[in-house]
């Protein structure tokens, strides 16, 4: 698996000031590699989420390309890109992302269900247990706490066994022990399972799980 970004940038209209546009992400080249945990840190508003979304096929860049094994994501039709997202990526977005009307297990099986794939029930069960969610399996998600929701989103991303894992501040609302649990799970995915993991985080602890660390400063990316 090869994910390569070339000349990738995102501009947004400026709300105030003289220039009409500003770079939320300056043009950059980046490779996300299998078997590696890449961690991206930076101050709030520096463009981390914007970059992650573009890499994950969720946000059309202003310029540049994102290629997955040579395929330009943003040259695909919506149908093809959606299918590719479903098959290749697992994304834990910033903010809540579980569907309240479904149970925890239903949430986790949903990506496969959308495309009529075989439901990864065993993998789901296994991740529920690893993330301490087993007792909540059949509970309606509406009643979950913030940290429980976050872990459900993580279990959902991992249970599909994607080649690419993107996580945007996955430990933001977790206690220390759960943070360690989640981060070591991500590391296992990369090191034991050969998946590519890309994590955005403020957590300085995360750095010790990283194979590669990037910093974002006002849209400018640098490798530490």
């Amino acid at each position: 698996m090869n994910l390569n970004a070339e000349g990738l940038s995102k501009q947004y209209p400026r709300k105030t000031g003289t220039a009409n546009y500003f770079y939320a992400v300056n043009p950059l080249d980046l490779a996300v590699r299998s078997g590696e945990v890449a961690v991206l840190t930076g101050r709030s508003g520096s463009g981390k989420t914007t970059l992650l979304n573009m890499l994950a096929g969720l946000l059309r860049p202003s310029e540049g390309t994102v290629r997955l094994d040579g395929v330009d994501l943003y040259a695909l039709s919506d149908n093809d890109l959606s299918r590719l997202r479903s098959e290749k990526t697992g994304v834990v977005p910033q903010g809540g992302s579980v569907i309240d009307t479904l149970t925890v297990l239903e949430n986790i099986l949903l990506p496969a269900q959308l495309y009529g794939r075989a439901l990864p029930v065993d993998a789901a069960q296994q991740w529920l247990e690893r993330l301490g969610l087993a007792p909540l399996r059949d509970v309606r998600a509406a009643g979950l706490s913030g940290g429980e929701r976050r872990r459900v989103a993580i279990a959902r991303a991992l249970a599909q066994d994607p080649v690419l894992i993107f996580a945007d501040e996955p430990t933001g609302d977790l206690d220390d022990e759960n943070t360690r649990l989640v981060l070591s799970a991500f590391r296992a995915c990369a090191h034991e399972n050969g998946q590519a993991v890309f994590i955005v985080t403020h957590e300085s602890d995360a750095l010790q799980y990283a194979d590669r660390v990037y910093r974002m400063e006002s849209g400018q990316l640098s490798e530490a």
């Binding site: 989420t49 914007t50 979304n53 573009m54 994950a56 969720l58 946000l59 059309r60 919506d78 149908n79 890109l81 959606s82 299918r83 997202r85 479903s86 098959e87 994304v91 977005p93 910033q94 903010g95 809540g96 992302s97 579980v98 569907i99 309240d100 009307t101 479904l102 949903l110 990506p111 269900q113 959308l114 495309y115 009529g116 309606r140 959902r156």
Partner: protein
């Protein structure tokens, strides 16, 4: 279908929302189905009345108009009797342009034991009658025999029963199909039977005698030959016959068809108003609901749902809501309209004939289909807007 079950689940797990949307569409279905059934029934009633009257001109004694309103007599079955000499029939037949002429004789019964109300007995001449006889023939293969009667559908007497009119035993040999008019409450017999009944009535002190002649009739139904002006024939008849008034049936019905047109207009306006209102509410409701569910849809996009899938799910959900509402609304309208046809008829004061089961079902199916489509379409606008933005942006907005 996996995604279909997802839509169903989403509806079931938000029963309040689903019920509210279904209720909105139920109003649409109620208005359309209820309105069209009422209008159709009125139109049916008028058609049937026209067919039953079947004549271009009706001749009645001049004094009749002061005695009874024809319109009430034919529409509501108000009883009434007036008589003239039977020679009017022959004189009418001599007039140029008269194709057919048939006599009828009326007798208002006292409270008969068949019925809780007074009924109108109508004597016809099976040989010449062209208004009631064809209708009787549909229920009775032979002619009406002596002391035989055919009863309208609303007369509570079954075939084979004996009803007593002025103490005369009359045998019910046929019950006629509904016409939705006052004719449904009448009892029909041959002229011979009528003469016997008239005599019995006289014995009871109900006088119907006129100065001249023995043989009396109440009305002559005239059909004008093709190519002749009805008005010309009408004035010729009036000129020739003394103490007889010639009434154009059309003029009797214009009152009816005018109020029918009025009611149709009102009902149509009502349907349009309900639709406009419900449509606006529905569009707003979907806009709000989809905004409320923005996050949910953004998440679906995040985990791989394409724009088309998402629109499909929204459409499926709203179509199912529409189906639910359409069925409920149509069912409710049917429940309100069919058992209470009688009540509606007397409230409207117009001939009212319900459509038959086949037509009603077709109408119901059409209504449900329409509601499903409208529900689906009104969620479409919201569904389209929703899928225009990138999932990344949608996620940010939905937070």
């Amino acid at each position: 279908m996996k995604r279909f079950s997802l839509s169903v689940r989403s509806l079931l797990r938000k029963p309040g929302r689903t019920a509210a949307l279904a209720l909105l569409t139920a109003f649409l279905a109620l208005a359309v189905f209820g309105g069209s059934v009422v209008v159709l029934s009125l139109r049916n009633g008028l058609n049937s009345l026209e067919a039953r009257l079947g004549a271009d001109i009706i001749l009645v004694p001049s004094e009749a108009q002061s005695k009874v309103s024809f319109q009430n007599m034919f529409l509501q079955g108000t009883t009434g009797a007036f008589y003239m000499d039977a020679s009017v029939l022959d004189k009418a037949l001599e007039v140029n342009g008269v194709e057919k002429a048939a006599p009828q004789t009326f007798l208002a019964s006292l409270k008969a034991d068949c019925c809780s109300v007074k009924i109108q007995v109508i004597g016809i001449d099976p040989e010449t009658d062209f208004t009631v006889q064809p209708w009787i023939s549909r229920s009775l293969a032979r002619e009406l025999g002596n002391m035989d009667v055919a009863v309208g559908c609303k007369v509570e007497a079954g075939v084979g029963e004996i009803i007593r009119i002025y103490d005369q035993r009359c045998k019910v040999v046929a019950q006629l199909e509904s016409t939705g008019t006052g004719l449904d409450t009448a009892v029909y017999c041959s002229m011979d039977t009528m003469n016997a009944l008239l005599k019995a009535a006289e014995d009871k002190g109900v006088s119907h005698k006129i100065e001249s002649g023995d043989q009396v009739i109440s009305a002559v139904y005239v059909k004008v030959r093709d190519g002749y002006s009805i008005d010309t024939v009408n004035s010729q008849l009036t000129g020739r016959l003394r103490k007889v008034t010639a009434v154009r049936t059309r003029s009797m019905l214009t009152g009816v068809s005018d109020s029918l047109a009025g009611i149709s207009r009102t009902v149509t306006a009502l349907i349009v108003a309900v639709w406009a209102l419900a449509l606006v509410i529905l569009l707003l409701a979907y806009a709000l609901i989809i905004r409320e569910r923005n996050r949910e849809f953004a998440v679906l996009r995040l985990i791989g749902a394409s724009r088309r899938m998402l629109s499909g799910m929204v459409l499926t959900e709203s179509a199912l809501c529409g189906l639910l509402g359409g069925l409920a609304g149509t069912g409710l309208a049917a429940l309100a309209l069919f058992p209470f046809a009688q009540l509606i008829e007397s409230a409207l004061n117009l001939p009212y004939l319900m459509p038959d089961a086949g037509t009603a079902l077709l109408l119901a199916a059409g209504t449900v289909l329409l509601t499903v489509m409208v529900a689906a379409l009104s969620s479409m606008a919201a569904a389209c807007r929703l899928s225009r933005v990138d999932p990344g942006t949608a996620l940010r907005e939905g937070t």
